[in-house]
Symmetry: C2
C-alpha cells in the first residue's frame, strides 16, 4: 500500500532454471586441489571457462539435469551430489536483459568431491574441459566465481566435520597422506602435524594394516585404512577432525 | 542419441519460483517446539495449513520475497534467514497439471529460529496464522511436510554445532534452562544432564553472573549469560555441543 511496496510490480517473474555443478578432486601426487571447468562456446560469455551446467528441461528433475551434465563430461564411480545453494537474484545472467519476455535465470548448484584417479574427463573434440587448480582459476562466466567460492567453503566445512577425506584417499594411506590432503584443501597452516595425528587417531576410525611403507629418506610409516565398521555408530554424531 | 536419452524432450522447462519459510521458535515456559503455519484460502489446498510463502515477483530477489512473506505475518527483531534447500522436481505442485503451458513450480526454502517472546503474529482478520507445536502439525499443503522435516533436521544440526540456542534463551539463564531447551528440540533422551553440563561449561562461552535463582523446591541455581567476547575467537572453529 505504501509508495515503497507499490514500486515492485505484482507480476510474477518467469524463470528458466539452470543446474551448475562444483566438482572438486585432489591430486594427491602433486598436492593440488582441482575443480572441473568447461569452456563455453556460445554467448553470453563465449570462450570463458565456466562450471559445468545446463538448463532444466521439461519433465526433468533438478538431480536428473545434474546427472545429464556430468555424464557428458566425466566418467566417475559413485558420484554423490549434494545440493549447495540457489542463486536467484535479478540481473545475475545477461540473457535476462536481452530477452524481451523478462525471463530470469535461476541457478541451483550441486557439489561433489570425487577421487582424482577414478575420474576420466570426456573430451568431445569441440569443447574445452579441464581439472583447474583452484588457486589458478580465471574469471569465470556469469557469477560462477561466487558459486565456486561457496562450494569451496562447503568443502572446507565437510573436511572439518565429516570423514569425506577417506572417500578420495587411496584404500591404504599413511597418516602423513591424510595430513597432506587436509593441508592441500585447507592451506599449509591449518594445524601442525603432531596435533592432527593425535586427534585423528583418537577418533578410532582408522585401522592399522600392520604394513609399513618407506618413502624417501624418512622412517617407514604405518599404512592405515578407513574402518567403515568402527565409523558406523558415529555416523550421525557430531564429529570434529581439527 | 539413445532411445533412453531421446525420451526426454529437449524443450526447456518454464518455472515460477516460490519462496517458503520454515520459522521455528521455542516456548521456553511450556517447553514446546513451535513452527509458524498459515491457513490457505485458495486452491489448490484451500483450508490446509502451509508454511508461509509467496511466488517471486518481477525484479524481486529471493531474499526480498522471503522478507515480504514474513513482514506480512510476524513482527520480529533481527530475523536472520538462512537458505535451506530447493525443491524442484516435476509434479511437486498440482497447479502444474492444471496449467496449459506446463509451467513448473520450484520452491526455495528459508529457515530461521526466532525468540518466541520477541515475536508477535500479525492476524489480518482473514487468514489463519498459528505457532503450531511441531509434534501436532497436520498434513500440510503441497510438499510442505517434507520441507518442514528438512528444516527440523537443520535445526537439530545447528543446535549440535553452533550456539544458536543462546539467540533464543533469555539474557540470563540457568544451565538447566539450556538443557531444557536442547531436550525440547532434540527429545528428552539426547543426553543426561550432568554430561551436558560438563561439556557446556568446558566450552568456556558462558559467564557466571554471580546471581542465583531459586525455583520450586530445588537448590538455588546460578544464572549465566552467553559471553559473546569469549565466543568471538571460536566463531569460525568447529564446535560440538553434545
Amino acid at each position: 500500500m505504501t509508495a515503497a511496496s507499490s514500486s515492485i510490480p505484482d507480476k510474477l517473474a518467469d524463470f528458466k532454471v539452470g543446474v551448475d555443478t562444483v566438482i572438486f578432486s585432489v591430486d594427491t601426487e602433486q598436492n593440488r586441489l582441482l575443480v572441473l571447468l568447461v569452456m563455453r562456446h556460445e554467448d553470453p560469455y563465449s570462450d570463458y571457462w565456466s562450471l559445468p551446467g545446463a538448463l532444466v528441461r521439461e519433465g526433468e528433475s533438478l538431480e536428473a539435469t545434474a546427472d545429464r551434465v556430468l555424464t557428458e563430461k566425466i566418467h566417475v564411480n559413485n558420484l554423490y551430489l549434494e545440493q549447495l545453494f540457489t542463486f536467484g537474484g535479478p540481473q545475475r545472467d545477461p540473457r535476462e536483459a536481452q530477452n524481451a519476455y523478462n525471463v530470469r535465470y535461476l541457478s541451483v548448484s550441486y557439489f561433489a568431491l570425487v577421487r582424482y584417479e577414478d575420474t576420466a574427463l570426456i573430451a568431445d573434440g569441440v569443447s574445452g574441459i579441464a581439472w583447474y587448480p583452484l588457486n589458478r582459476v580465471p574469471e569465470l562466466a556469469f557469477d560462477h566465481n561466487e558459486i565456486l567460492a561457496y562450494g569451496y567453503r562447503r568443502l572446507r566445512n565437510k573436511l572439518e566435520y565429516s570423514p569425506v577425506a577417506f572417500d578420495v584417499l587411496p584404500d591404504t594411506f599413511t597418516l602423513s597422506d591424510v595430513y597432506q590432503l587436509y593441508a592441500t584443501v585447507l592451506g599449509e597452516d591449518f594445524s601442525d602435524y603432531s596435533n592432527f595425528r593425535t586427534r585423528l587417531l583418537k577418533l578410532r576410525i582408522l585401522q592399522d594394516t600392520g604394513v609399513k611403507t618407506s618413502r624417501g629418506a624418512g622412517r617407514p610409516a604405518s599404512l592405515y585404512r578407513f574402518d567403515a565398521e568402527a565409523f558406523k555408530p558415529l555416523k550421525d554424531k557430531p564429529m570434529v577432525f581439527l
